[in-house]
Symmetry: C2
Subunit: 394 residues, 2 copies
């Protein structure tokens, strides 16, 4: 329960994240009582030691080279240059370094972006299944969160449903590809259709609808699949990225915002973002992470091994009777639960030391979200438990 | 100029920080063209190499001890315990670890605190001379910023003026002791008077007015002076602190929020702050800084040397004709400028490689704010330039 005087926007946001907050508290209590051989499949957290290259890079970056090493940092030119080159590789486009803003992960980037775009009365659309803080963060920024369901079979964007959701209050749409939790990568055809809709709607209502492209998982792609940044299809795009997925170091908080070079009022938007960044609490990546960015940006978890774990886990779950699709990207499988109440089923698994996110927290009631960042051993230990709990229900 | 669609709260906030933003841009351009022997007195930035102990602590903390080393971090118990012990030393009181929240510096702490307290229509009082982002951050949170001048001679709190400023919309007051820029430490008598006023006003208007105690400079105190936390005098106090001043590592961003154990609705306020922290972009200190906190919290810049620099600088400025007071704490001197236009005078000094903050940015028009974090050499080089520019004006 919140204090009686809490601001209205925060009360709404708090209600919006109640299932997630309840789960996170539950998860903490599971961990506190976890057996030694627990299987943590709940979050995109590392289940093995950090990359040696990451540790080496930070160790080097800790040694100061000048008096300003740990002085106030803004969006430092050397960091912007690293990201500009990366964006050129990913998108084939030239982003101006002045349009790149260093943030505390993708969540920090989303905070600054929403603070920059959303006022009272503004609506922000997000696609569900969804990352569990979108709704709360939109509400906390003072806006209205508008949930649009993806196609329930394919998990593709439902362009007609998005069209129905757009109003003259629509300020932005968050697109998360590869999607957390479904792993769906939206095709160029999908993005072209979305872009045409957003362009027509922006014209119709006389103000731009911004596309917030949450690309946190854009390097986590299986089977040699292709990802093309949604920002390649729509001028008023804002790219959000974090290094926390590729490096599996989510506690170290480094990511960025990048404004598309084709954006309307680009110089004025640049001013909006940099002002927000200051007013959101000097929301800039730490000195150390900026110093190490050049060395860490080319590192990655072992994607081949991750894909092996995905394959083993999908096959294993199917073998023991679960219906689950094979994700194209991101960290998660979403098996259907053998009972309708996914929270209760997650609790059953937890009593046996297997920790999963109930799907109802991420817009997939009747499913679980399980992370393939688990170790091989965890997966092997978890599968028989999944099988037994399925049998208990059927 | 901001984009046409920027939210109203951000437009107001942007206007509120225009002088500061203009100065920061100006400062960047000074640095870009700085002569080799420039004297940087503008911000509380280090002008010598980082503390060896700080580098050692980070070097140790970089080496992972388990798979969770760089995993998602919240307000970790080991960090909370360090801060609890520190708060006990400083305040003599027992803060519950659950009421301590790790943030990205004091600015990050202020962001989360304002997000937790302030909704549309709420007023937040701040005392001027002031830190240059208070007004903008209050406005960005959706509230109204109410500036109350300190006594212009003593820089003490003007309790009568605060009383006149309190309305039924007053949600909080920010008290910054030792004050940036004046260095004033408010006496226990001042704080008792403020506390009595806040208690009476809270009763009168039927809701608590929170005291946000910005104690960023509480360890930077000269002449063996004493600091007693304003939170010792008023139950509804929220302590904000950063390690960036004591360590002179403002780019590394670690600080905290602590709720007074005597606070009304304490459990509900705890929920408000932790919810805000998530919704403000997982606004929690990085894994590395939490791992190193135990080792760095007892380190400090050389306060004796800082005081020597303060004394040399005050004496030197007075010798060449400036009127300036001797600060009790914090990093800054505030000499009166020999011409009324402090921005123009700062620009004159800058053309000669001496960079100072114009006082009008921090509520002291007709003054400069100069930082004694400058090196001895910078101070010796700057003094003759101060003298010559004073002579040019007189």
């Amino acid at each position: 329960m919140l204090a009686a005087n809490a601001p209205a926007r925060l009360v709404r946001a708090h209600n919006g994240i109640l299932p997630s907050a309840r789960f996170l508290a539950q998860y903490d209590s599971w961990l506190a009582q976890a057996p030694e051989d627990y299987c943590d499949l709940a979050l995109g957290n590392p289940q093995s030691m950090p990359l040696a290259g990451f540790v080496d890079a930070l160790t080097k970056a800790v040694t100061p080279k000048d008096k300003n090493w740990f002085a106030y940092k803004k969006n430092e030119p050397y960091s912007r240059d690293v990201i500009q080159a990366d964006l050129r590789n990913v998108t084939g486009r030239h982003f101006d370094p002045e349009d790149i803003f260093l943030t505390n992960g993708a969540t920090g980037a989303l905070m600054v972006t929403l603070n920059s775009l959303v006022g009272a009365g503004d609506e922000v659309i997000y696609i569900s299944p969804h990352w569990f803080f979108y709704e709360g963060m939109i509400l906390n920024s003072g806006g209205t969160a508008v949930c649009v369901k993806a196609n329930p079979e394919s998990f593709n964007l439902d362009i007609d449903a998005i069209e129905r959701a757009i109003t003259m209050q629509t300020r932005a749409i968050i697109v998360n590809s590869p999607n957390n939790p479904t792993g769906r990568i939206y095709t160029p055809e999908q993005m072209k259709a979305l872009s045409a809709l957003l362009q027509a709607s922006s014209r119709k209502f006389g103000r731009p609808i911004h596309l917030i492209s949450d690309e946190a998982y854009r390097t986590i792609i299986y089977d040699g699949g292709e990802f093309e940044s949604p920002s390649n299809f729509y001028a008023n795009s804002i790219v959000i990225y974090t290094y926390g997925k590729t490096l599996l170091t989510p506690g170290q908080r480094i990511g960025y915002i990048a404004l598309s070079p084709e954006m309307d009022e680009l110089a004025a938007m640049r001013e909006v973002i940099s002002t927000s960044q200051m007013l959101c609490g000097w929301a800039v990546s730490s000195a150390l992470m900026q110093h190490s960015l050049g060395a860490i940006q080319s590192l990655s978890l072992d994607l081949h091994h991750l894909q092996e774990k995905r394959d083993r886990f999908v096959a294993g779950l199917r073998d023991c009777g679960y219906k689950t699709h094979t994700p194209e990207g991101a960290f998660y499988l979403t098996p259907k639960t053998p009972m309708a109440d996914d929270v209760a089923f997650a609790e059953r698994l937890a009593t046996r030391g297997v920790f999963c996110l109930p799907g109802s927290v991420v817009g997939m009631p009747g499913h679980l979200r399980v992370s393939v960042t688990a170790s091989d051993e965890m997966i092997e230990r978890a599968l028989p438990i999944f099988a037994e709990e399925n049998n208990r229900c059927c």
